[in-house]
Symmetry: C2
């Protein structure tokens, strides 16, 4: 606050000379977090390849995934096990392929393939997850950004848009510890989303519950039963629920899940039958052996929290010290990100300064469709991967860049 432009420029020049080489770009677990799952590297063990029913999991088949693993995550995700599939290594692929199936074939309750919808559009609460937006961009789907208002979903605008425009067929939702804001949807918000009238009868909520068990405090809110709420509201097919173990066990070597109404699950099954004979059931067995039960997952996530929570605290302490009164930021109770809002019109400049000083931050605008932050204000901070020392150096440096970018002469 009391730092002058000259002070800041001097700090920045020193910083640049050090060329830190730090990376805050992606939500990657740290090596210590990965160590928690090292047992996967030798599981299930040389003589362990049958499921509870005696089926040899080494061979083809079993498109729905391993029942034992589906049971564990059915409890955690509040999805009936019959309506939960355990699939490949990435929920991103399940989301992508669901949108592709909708484009090419249409969805239950619809009147044809979405590719035939003129000006097909998805609602995108912003700031949001860049890879959701990349799916739409890659597939030529129009994105309508809907900024959060006071950190919460703008339900009035969302309800008005879907009621008016039949071309809106989808909306991206991260209901727990949203990427990047940390927002947790309330029961009332969930009920509003599954209940609101929509011009399109086949409107879908792409419900990415990526951080369902990724708590950072003693308060561990249960997952809201979105499928039950949707059925009660008379729109059972509206939500498609996605999740994965990417930030529970090993990213890239985990298991993805799809939950939905019986009709949606039958629809996904039918189209994926042309794409695959089945998921990697041995890897699913590995996960059953490591995690054991829903409580096993909860214990495992508390071990993550012990590693992750001090990193979030370190970032928040520095933001507090250096940016109070200059910027605002989220204080998430879970998930992987801190969302920093700097003075409008200065985020890109701050990120460019950081880059020149050797600190990689998620590119400016990444949290908006087409990487175009209309306010030029949002910076996504991913605190998990660096060591605390590196993280503190990087965040302190980023603060200098934020202050310098917004300093007036």
């Amino acid at each position: 606050m009391s730092e002058t432009r000259t002070d800041l420029q001097r700090q920045y020049d020193t910083l640049r000379a050090r060329n830190l080489g730090l990376d805050l770009t992606r939500g990657k677990p740290s090596p210590e977090q990965l160590d928690l799952s090292n047992a996967l590297l030798s599981l299930p063990g040389e003589h362990d390849y049958r499921d509870a029913s005696g089926t040899d999991l080494r061979n083809y088949g079993g498109a729905d995934g391993l029942t034992e693993l589906r049971e564990i995550f059915a409890e955690l995700l509040a999805v009936p096990v019959a309506q939960l599939l355990a699939l490949g290594n990435a929920s991103l692929a399940v989301m992508h392929d669901s949108v592709v199936d909708a484009l090419l074939h249409g969805v239950p309750g619809g009147s044809g393939p979405w590719r035939d919808v003129q000006d097909l559009a998805f609602l995108c609460p912003v700031p949001g997850y860049d890879r959701h937006f990349s799916i739409c961009e890659s597939l030529g789907i129009r994105m309508i950004p809907v900024p959060f208002v006071n950190g919460r979903l703008d339900l009035d605008t969302i309800a008005r848009l879907v009621a008016e425009d039949p071309a809106i067929r989808g909306m991206w939702c991260v209901p727990m510890y949203s990427n990047p804001t940390g927002l947790v949807y309330t029961v009332e918000e969930v009920e509003a989303l599954v209940g609101m009238p929509t011009a399109a009868p086949d409107f879908r909520l792409f419900w990415d519950n990526a951080y369902a068990v990724h708590h950072l405090t003693d308060d561990e809110p249960p997952v809201i039963d979105v499928l039950g709420a949707a059925a009660t509201a008379g729109h059972p097919d509206r939500p498609l629920v996605f999740a994965s173990t990417s930030k529970i066990t090993l990213p890239g070597a985990g298991v993805a899940f799809l939950g939905g109404s019986a009709d949606n699950i039958a629809w996904f099954r039918r189209h994926s039958a042309a794409q695959t004979i089945g998921p990697d059931k041995i890897n699913q067995l590995r996960h059953v052996r490591l995690l054991k039960s829903a409580d096993g997952v909860r214990r495992h996530m508390r071990a993550h929290r012990a590693i992750v929570e001090p990193r979030f605290a370190a970032v928040l302490a520095i933001l507090e010290r250096r940016l109070t009164g200059v910027a605002t930021w989220s204080r998430p109770a879970g998930g992987y990100f801190i969302s920093l809002d700097v003075a409008p019109g200065t985020a890109a400049a701050a990120i460019a300064l950081a880059k020149e000083a050797g600190i990689a931050v998620t590119p400016a605008g990444s949290t908006w469709p087409h990487r175009n932050d209309l306010v030029d204000s949002n910076i996504r901070i991913a605190p998990t991967f660096p060591s605390i020392e590196e993280l503190e150096a990087a965040i302190d440096a980023l603060c200098t860049c934020v202050l310098l970018a917004s300093a007036v002469d």
Copy 2:
């Protein structure tokens, strides 16, 4: 030969009373074959998670797949390592997704998405692989069956069709030990396919080298360098090469590969970037540790052969004894199938009789598009999964059904 209809009916009634419960439907490895790869169940080991360059494979990244594994299969598949990607657990998914990418985005050298091509069509040599045809059927692509002539590709018809019809954009090819005929393409045939003029500039050979190392004799022909031949012919982008370890290690828990020209690989990478952050690199490391080298794969495949070859011999001996003069069949030098051609108009009836007697055979017509064998003659036999005793009982029973179906009163 000397069996009368009454004899055959009596044999069949006995058979039916026994209700054998045998399954010849799918090309699945036997449990003994799977045992060859049981080391995968505890590999790579708890402290082994870095590649040769030191990268921690437990975390996100590495979309091209593990270099060490790509090097092994580059040698076996005759594809330069820079043009070979190691991907997920199923080459079927890579084929499906390649066709989807072509539909939605078009391919290098083309003039737009294939979904805009009126009457878009693929050539389908028949008998062929049912799951290739399912991809086309699922995606609404017209299939033009081109029957083999004397067991070889009908190159004259193929060349004429692709020269005349710009709607033909693809052709399914299994160049080694074709499913189900066992055909191995010659260098001349490969050169004809990559060199023939096509009305569509973006015609693609979907080159499924699923059985590249799956020899059943001492003659182990090397894989033909289709990418080199295509480049020499001036059509470097024509082949897309697919392969997997499904029938090398564990089906469903293996690794798929995509090979192609630099432009095709860049094209696939670009579109898959919206779908996934990367494949399961830990599973790829497992495969490197098990297989070690191209020679390691060759040794591993000889161990498979020791298990599989007697099964093929048992089937051929029974066919010889019971169906000589009545039917014809392939005598494959590799791969997973024996293709049996019975009297035209009797295959479906024979398969129905077998089913009633408790012997599951791949459904009638499966080796033709839309399960519609226009000659009603082809039966695909998958000898690998049952024990020799079960296999002999099942094939003997199938022969009775074939004879009964074609017996005249």
